[in-house]
């Protein structure tokens, strides 16, 4: 071990410590930003020490360094530009794109490592196995994440896309990728075989994500995020770089935990989401109980809602997908502030999957200047619904369906917000259309519930205007 290697090893350990500390601090809103900055500092240390060791040990030449600088400038400019300008509602697809490029980079590093080796001897297995795995996983996450981003952005239709024989093509792609992978390991340095692995894995990534419904896309993005971590760790094995191994494994673990939690909160299992894409009928029907049967429903106007809110003591706002889709976070925050300034206690009950991915609603509300102390998680919120005078549900449906407590339906067992425990309920919704689970919601026909049919943004604006009259008086 040279002195450079030793110093680099120590610096990598420092970087790893900073990554773990950073992630640890991201557990609480008050320290989360600092946590991310600590992790960024770890990244800077890892990058600088890698540059130093590369210059000392290998040297390289002007062309190599030139290509690196050009690439970093282009990629960095693109990444920072998109990160600075993205709308908060579009965060999920941007995360997916950043994940795609990470997977692509991991695969490229492995390919470069493979190509570089002498073409007369075969690679030792402890180097070729990680290379093949890296190319496989990296390529799947690259193409899969791009498709997922397209679905979230709406460029690719959100409905599951399948075509005749898509399942067979899918299986074929996997088999070809695996067979070419094994052949790459046993044959003498065959770049063409590795390219076959690459192409088959890219095709598989596309075919794996295309059939997945838009609502499930965030779970897939999270799963692919975990896989990219593993691909990066494999790259670390291939080029014997501990920073890649540690950081990749951390992200692999993080992504796995997140994926499981997201799927659990949506009452879906990860295998059923993925296998759903393989042609089983596990797709939302979306038609059951449709129709606009308005009997048994108490309809409210903006004025009715405003009176109810203005004379309440405790108000709980339940934001859902409809609020995120209508980009109405500023309107709801404005209404809440009006009520709070009037001395009314206003809190937000946030279901783990409200918004477009877990925690997305919190980001949207934070953007609208809502303090995080007003955002209650599922358990905290459920402890307070009993004393709540008005629960204002904005564009949420399945996450507050009391039928989840009963067995034998599409939402059975899903953790829900106990909105029906509130003294009265107001639901702002565009129509009686069922949510993603495709079933009716008895909350809407509950005698204490009033329905205000409106687009979230317009409805909240109208309620705000009406409420102003009452609280000013």
């Amino acid at each position: 071990m040279t002195t450079t290697d030793f110093v680099t090893g120590i610096l990598y350990l420092v970087a790893a410590t900073l990554f773990v500390t950073g992630l640890h601090q991201m557990r609480a809103p008050s320290t989360a930003r600092r946590g991310n900055l600590i992790s960024a500092a770890g990244m800077a240390i890892a990058v600088i020490s890698t540059i130093v060791v590369a210059l000392v040990d290998d040297g390289g030449n002007g062309w190599g360094w030139g290509a690196l600088i050009l690439g970093v400038l282009l990629g960095g400019t693109y990444g920072v530009g998109r990160a600075r300008t993205v709308k908060m509602t579009d965060i999920p697809q941007l995360v997916s794109i950043f994940n795609a490029v990470g997977g692509g980079a991991a695969a490229t590093v492995a390919i470069a490592d493979f190509v570089r080796h002498s073409s007369t001897t075969s690679l030792p297995l402890n180097s070729s196995i990680p290379i093949v795995l890296d190319v496989l996983i990296g390529a799947v996450t690259f193409s899969g994440s791009l498709i997922a981003a397209g679905k979230l952005q709406g460029i690719i239709p959100g409905q599951p896309i399948t075509f005749l024989g898509s399942r067979a093509v899918n299986v074929l792609a996997v088999l070809i990728a695996l067979a070419a992978g094994v052949l790459t390991l046993v044959s003498t340095h065959n770049v063409a075989l590795l390219v076959v692995v690459l192409v088959a894995a890219l095709i598989f990534g596309v075919l794996m994500v295309l059939p997945i419904g838009g609502a499930d896309a965030p779970v897939i993005v999270s799963l692919l995020n975990a896989l990219t971590g593993l691909a990066v760790a494999m790259a670390g094995f291939a080029i014997n770089n501990q920073a890649l191994i540690i950081a990749g494994a951390l992200v692999g673990a993080a992504g796995t935990i997140l994926t499981l939690q997201m799927a659990k909160a949506m009452n879906r299992s990860v295998p059923s989401i993925i296998m759903g894409g393989f042609g089983t009928s596990d797709t939302p029907s979306g038609t059951v109980g449709a129709g606009q049967d308005l009997t048994n429903i108490r309809q409210l106007t903006a004025d009715d809602v405003a009176i109810q809110l203005a004379y309440a003591q405790h108000v709980m706002i339940v934001p859902g997908y409809g609020l995120a889709a209508a980009r109405a976070q500023h309107e709801v925050a404005e209404l809440a502030k009006l009520l709070t300034d009037h001395g009314i206690d206003v809190k937000y009950a946030i279901h783990p999957v409200a918004g477009r991915m877990p925690g997305h609603m919190n980001v949207l509300l934070a953007e609208a200047n809502v303090p995080y102390t007003q955002m209650l998680q599922l358990d905290e919120a459920n402890a307070q619904f009993d004393i709540c005078d008005v629960a204002l549900v904005v564009g949420a449906n399945d996450v507050c369906n009391p039928d989840a407590r009963e067995p034998g339906n599409a939402v059975s067992g899903m953790p829900i917000l106990d909105v029906d425990h509130a003294k009265s309920v107001v639901v702002i919704k565009r129509s009686m259309r069922p949510g993603y689970a495709g079933i009716t919601n008895p909350l809407f026909t509950d005698p204490k519930t009033g329905m205000f049919f409106a687009d979230a943004k317009q409805g909240l604006t109208d309620i705000f205007a009406a409420a102003k009259e009452y609280v000013a008086a």
Partner: protein, 119 residues
């Protein structure tokens, strides 16, 4: 060579365990920023791109270096910036300005306190 492999495997497995432990405790409030933050961390592949650059000695090597570094830089730079943008918005509540309400039960509890002290 097997020694290196073994120590790398040990590092890998222990890092996985640390990852599970650190991350399983994050509240759902922060899942989106956390996912984005973890996403930025796998941008460490930029270190792989640097190593690739130093070892590149052929046109195909330079091209692959360029591709790897462009993709990795977008991941790492964009990832940290967008995560910071999200987390910057999470703010503490304003200093309390709501007038302190005196509960109707205040006199009762005051009397109760006195009685408790007396007994």
């Amino acid at each position: 060579m097997t020694e290196t492999l073994f120590s790398n495997l040990a590092i890998f497995v222990l890092s996985l365990l640390v990852g599970f432990e650190v991350i399983s405790k994050i509240p759902s409030t922060l899942h989106t920023p956390m996912m984005s933050g973890a996403n930025a961390i796998h941008g460490v592949i930029v270190a792989g791109a640097i190593a690739t650059a130093a070892l590149a000695h052929s046109p195909i090597g330079y091209v692959l270096t360029f591709v790897a570094s462009a993709l990795a830089a977008a991941n790492v730079c964009g990832g940290y910036v967008v995560t910071d943008r999200m987390l910057r918005m999470f703010r503490k509540p304003d200093p309390v300005t709501v007038p302190v309400a005196v509960p109707i039960t205040a006199p009762v509890s005051a009397v109760a306190d006195v009685l408790k002290r007396a007994s």
